[in-house]
Symmetry: C2
Subunit: 161 residues, 2 copies
């Protein structure tokens, strides 16, 4: 699965920059930053009250993404956002997640320079992408999910800002 | 439970920006930053290879915490660390987590100014703290967990650096 099938003859094609060592493998989808951490919750208002009262974390933006059937509230902490995500439709993916796993950490959003290109590279390298093409995320971002089974269990969202 | 017992008459007293107005509800444990995101994994080397090859994320520090029965590798992305945590003892908490939930996102580490004081305040406010007193974390930090049931399902670790 994944990069293990890559042609070893390509090993010599290096990236320029910090990661590149002579003979180092090419990075499939270079990540430039953590965009956000997403937490699935059932009752958005109750959770936001809790995090404000306990930790002093207050919401900067709040948006319903109708295509995904979710409402998202973002708390910014330094350069990273914590996104609290609640379903507004019963058939939203996050509703399924809540039913199966309960509330809690859902995914990490990693910034990439080009989400469509990231999907193309990941698919070519043998990783299963959940989204065939990027969908609309918060605040005009382009986002897409990679299958967590290919990333040792963690749901990763690539985010183009 | 917790701060839900706050006097509803105080609800009208809003925060203005970052500053609390006189009489505003006091934040129990002000968070100053996200210290890290922790991911539970079974095979640390395999996961590190994966994240390096796919996303170009490379390890800055790696440490065995014998008291916790874990090995932790840290990838720094901007001001936040991603901690990959694998059990080295079968009875480590993270081994139990892996058996129950499988690999994936485990907790968020939130920076606080004083971990011992944070535990004291949380306990006084009615939150269940997993650790009676801070334990030794990575790189000389003091850390402690709060019961996720009191924080809407998310495992939060307070971190004093």
């Amino acid at each position: 699965m994944g990069l293990t099938a890559r042609n070893p003859n390509e090993e010599g094609e290096e990236l320029e920059g910090e990661q590149a060592l002579p003979g180092a493998p090419e990075v499939a989808v270079p990540v430039t930053a953590i965009d956000h951490i997403a937490i699935a919750v059932a009752d958005l208002d109750a959770t936001l009250d809790l995090y404000r009262n306990v930790f002093g974390l207050t919401v900067s933006t709040r948006e319903v993404l109708h295509d995904d059937g979710i409402e998202v509230a973002v708390v910014r902490v330094g350069e990273v956002g914590i996104q609290f995500v609640a379903p507004v439709d019963d058939d939203a993916d996050v509703a399924t997640f809540l039913a199966e796993w309960g509330p809690g950490l859902h995914h990490i959003g990693l910034k990439v320079s080009d989400a469509a290109e990231a999907l193309e590279v990941l698919a070519r390298e043998g990783y299963e992408v959940v989204d065939e093409e990027p969908r609309n995320g918060l605040a005009g971002t382009k986002v897409a999910f990679v299958n967590p089974h290919d990333l040792d269990g963690t749901i990763i969202q690539v985010v183009e800002t």
